[in-house]
Symmetry: C2
Subunit: 211 residues, 2 copies
């Protein structure tokens, strides 16, 4: 039995919204989930095949705009069951590699000035990211009231609903989208706070500086 990792269930999860092609999945992740997920074709296509082989999905020929051929994948009952099972399992916390921390560790003692300069750059990156996320938050938030997405927002729609139900669905999806942006903002802010503390302590260490 093949190993079922996060990518396996991520793809299965996308199919649980609506039947999709490999191309659709790549676009969905790159456009709407880029705050917290990434995926490559090198995993998508083999995994779709394995999902079919495992009985978790079926494949069918489809057509899109302009009569282009595409392979649509649809989740099966068995697949949905496996997904539900995974969804209820606690979050797996694996170590997140942190290049900033590694460079601090390797260079902090050897070359303090350069390390401080790196931390300043890093703070700049995070400050910019925070600003960007705040803009995206403000652009997304109105849909919470209106029940209508701004033009450029791509989203997972299980199916077209009509009228009030459609608006309600948009509001629910917007809330979740806002929460994921909010996570990014909080993460960036935590990093900015750390940068300030680190620069301050490296510039004025709480012990006599040799020289």
């Amino acid at each position: 039995m093949t190993k079922k990792g996060k990518t396996w269930f991520a793809i299965l999860g996308f199919l649980s919204w609506k039947p999709m092609s490999g191309y659709d999945i790549k676009n969905l992740v790159d456009i709407s989930l880029s705050y917290f997920w990434s995926i490559s074709y090198g995993q998508i296509y083999p995994t779709l095949k394995r999902l079919v082989a495992a009985g978790y999905a079926t494949t069918e020929a489809g057509r899109s705009i302009g009569d282009r051929k595409r392979n649509l994948f649809r989740i099966t009952n068995e697949g949905q069951k496996a997904l539900d099972d995974w969804m209820s399992k606690p979050i797996d916390l694996s170590i997140q590699r942190d290049e900033m921390q590694l460079k601090l560790f390797l260079g902090g003692q050897r070359d303090t000035a350069q390390t401080i300069s790196l931390i300043r750059d890093f703070k700049g990156q995070q400050t910019q990211r925070r600003a960007q996320l705040l803009i995206e938050y403000d652009e997304t938030a109105p849909a919470l009231e209106s029940g209508e997405f701004a033009d450029d927002i791509q989203w997972l729609e299980p199916e077209r609903l009509s009228g009030a139900r459609q608006k309600q669905a948009v509001r629910e999806q917007t809330l979740i989208f806002l929460l994921s942006i909010r996570q990014g903002i909080l993460k960036a802010e935590a990093r900015i706070t750390w940068c300030d503390e680190a620069i301050s302590l490296l510039e004025n260490p709480p012990y006599a500086n040799k020289s």
Copy 2:
């Protein structure tokens, strides 16, 4: 020319402190750098070989306690130059996958109750982690004053120094170690904050709840 990723420079960086064996590197990372780094033997041994092949390190037979054989790797001038170059480059920000966010995205609308339960579990994990890191912080901090490590702290020592210089080195290393723990604490706190916001918004959405 082989690709030089983060693992490549991480290992080169460890060798820049002192000559080490593959086993030493694995232990160093697992014991002292586990807050922000991980590494497997499957990368260490091949990478050490490639570092030698690239002229960035040399290898020599060594002996440790009990006359056990070990292969020591020593950084070359060329290797140190390449490391210095990498160290000065800005931090590469790649997308960090976040299983909590993925599950929120996939299940938040479909099964709010289960999603809230997952977030509560996640908050529990993060709260525990934060508590653990606070303890480790308090255990490490005294060395900032005393200049002496607590018994169980493993560390990178370029070489044995004597007296006052040794104490100063210990203080500098402790500061950096404390900063990396602090990063973990801030990250956990940001996640806890997010959990509170998310639970509150999912339980009382800012729009009329259908039902």
